[in-house]
Structure formats: structure tokens, C-alpha cells
Symmetry: C2
Subunit: 195 residues, 2 copies
């Protein structure tokens, strides 16, 4: 997605060979117009997939997911990383380790919002080692719902998560795939560039 890649080039900050900070438009400050374009792009890629629900993870997945939900005409569920007093019903839960935050979180959704009849699109802001993606997929599996695939805003192509998911036959649509962050330079994957 050309517009997203331009934004990453302009406002992304390379903190190390593996860490890209996009707090200027996605993870802390959010650009609503870009989120709208991202939502439209996910809709166009998954239009024929029969999606009935979008599942994401708080907090950075919410903005792109709600825009995708608006275009696709389906509700969005955001999995929570902690149980709150008002989220105590029957839950589906999965463990997710975050390398960025260096902690393990149990993520949960209320059973009532994903049913066996649903076809679920999982959306997340980043795909690196795939920990969060697998956690979300496990929630879909527990609900015995169908998985339409994964919609990812930024994939770190130099980490294993995306390849492992695709090797398992899971459809992964990443709007920007980063091949390398070496020497402070953002290189996109050529494959994505052709899309």
C-alpha cells in the first residue's frame, strides 16, 4: 500500500535493526485519514471472504480495525490483555508474549461475541514473530469459527511470524512488508512493492 509506505518512510523512526517506531501515526498518535485508507484497503483485499466479524487486540489494533469494520459492515471485537470487573463472563483466553513490552499477557474475549457461524478476520498493527497473531487465532479456534485470514498493517518480513503463518495455510495480507531496518534504513520487501 503505497500511501502507507510513504508515511512509514516520512514518519517512522528506526530505533535498532529490529525496532521501528511508528508512534507518529499508528501506535500512539493516530492519523485518522490514513486509518480510513487502511480500512478501505483491508475491505478490498477480503471483500470475497464472507467476513462477519473482525477480531483485534487492544490498543493499537483498534483504529485500523474499526475503519475496516465500517467499510466491511461488520462489528469489531478487541481482545483485552487483562480481565476487568465488567468482563467476567465466560471467556476464551490465550497467552501472548510481547517482546516489545517483555511480558506475557493473557488475552481474552467474551464468548458471546464470536460464534461458530462466524467468519473472522484478524487484524493487527504489527506482525513480527507472530505471537499476538497466534493468540488471536487460538481465540477464533476456541469459538470453532472460521478464520478468513490476517490483515496486518506492517509486517517485519525479516522475522519469522509471517512465513510460519503462511506455511500453515493461513492467508496473511500485510499492507507494508519491511525487509530490513539495517543501518537505520527502511527497506520494503519487493514482493509487497509489486502489489
Amino acid at each position: 500500500m503505497e500511501r502507507l509506505k510513504q508515511k512509514i518512510m516520512q514518519e517512522g523512526k528506526v530505533l535498532s535493526d529490529t525496532v521501528l517506531k511508528v508512534d507518529a501515526f499508528l501506535n500512539h498518535q493516530v492519523d485518522p485519514v490514513l486509518m480510513q485508507a487502511i480500512g478501505e484497503e483491508f475491505d478490498s483485499r477480503f471483500k470475497e471472504a464472507g467476513v462477519t466479524k473482525i477480531l483485534t487486540l487492544e490498543s493499537s489494533g483498534i483504529a485500523p480495525s474499526v475503519m475496516a469494520g465500517l467499510y466491511m459492515g461488520v462489528p469489531v471485537i478487541f481482545a483485552r490483555k487483562k480481565k476487568s470487573l465488567t468482563l467476567m463472563d465466560d471467556l476464551y483466553s490465550a497467552d501472548v508474549y510481547s517482546y516489545t513490552k517483555q511480558e506475557s499477557n493473557e488475552i481474552s474475549i467474551s464468548k458471546e461475541y464470536i460464534q461458530q457461524e462466524d467468519t473472522v478476520l484478524v487484524i493487527d498493527d504489527f506482525l513480527a514473530n507472530g505471537q499476538a497473531a497466534w493468540g488471536l487465532i487460538h481465540l477464533v479456534e476456541q469459538a470453532s469459527a472460521d478464520l478468513a485470514g490476517l490483515g496486518i498493517v506492517i509486517e517485519k518480513g525479516f522475522q519469522d511470524g509471517g512465513d510460519e503463518l503462511r506455511q500453515k495455510g493461513i492467508r496473511v495480507e500485510s499492507l507494508a512488508i519491511i525487509e530490513s531496518l539495517k543501518q537505520g534504513e527502511i527497506q520494503f520487501s519487493k514482493e509487497e512493492a509489486a502489489v
Copy 2:
């Protein structure tokens, strides 16, 4: 906002005299079409306020804020409840006690996203005792920015937060004000009903 109140009546669950659960469309599952209408309503109420940034708190404030930001043409910043490895710059921070989660959180934003020249609209999903609202206002104060006011999706009118804020001269626009949850029944404030 009539459409929001209808949704609250249809899908809100009264858990006690003080707790209203709106996980079906706002706090866990999100209705993107309703969020769009909420964003449009905040835009219409604050159109003349010269807003340059929207500030909210993860996670439930994000969806209505991003839609408001889209209508108003301004970026959204969501304050974080924990510091992550990629959020370690100079921060503005404030303490917020959550009665729902029974824990105190330090909320933070990166200094670079709110400047002295900004006019900030604070948006949140709920206003009850005002803890989160005051935390967000303190962040705006630390940045020496102007506060346009507060945009609240659901105010619990039977708790003190809203009155205290208004008494301090802060503009509070709540799209639905609940007067009572007693005996499992949702009563809206007549004042709001007239809007």
C-alpha cells in the same frame, strides 16, 4: 444523542445500581457505524472550538476518538496506561485510579505530540467520578495547551465527575447522560433528552 440512547436501552446491561455494561457496542465489541455517528456528533458540537488535537485514553476511547478525528480533520493521541519499550521519550504523566479495575494507573503521552499551540479536545467513553478525565486534563495542562473541553460518550449523571468538571468551567459534552440505574432500569437525564 437519540441513536446512542436507543442502543444503550437495547444492548446495555445493568449489572448494579452503578455499573452499566456496554461491551456489546463500545467497550469490547465495537459497532463501527455507531462510532461514526458519535464522531460526527462530537464534530458538530465542537466545530467552532478550533480543535487541533484529540486526546483520549486506551482502549475504549480510541474508536470514538478516531471517528471524531476523521470528521474534524485532526490527529488523535491515545494516552497509554503503561510505558512500553518504544514509548520512552520525554513524557507527560498523570495518575488515574480506576474504580472499575480497582487499580491505579499512570497514564502517559509523549511530549512531542501535544504542543503549547494546540487546542485539545479530550474524548472518553465514560465519565463517572472524573478520575480519567482529570488525568487527561492534567496532561493537557502540562503541555501548556488549551483545552477545548470534554467529549463523553456516556456520562453517569448520578456520580460527581461531570458536575465537578462543569463547576470548574470546563465544557463537558456528553452524548448520553444516565440519571439512574436503580432497579435494573436505565433512566436518562431529562436535560440530555432535550438536546
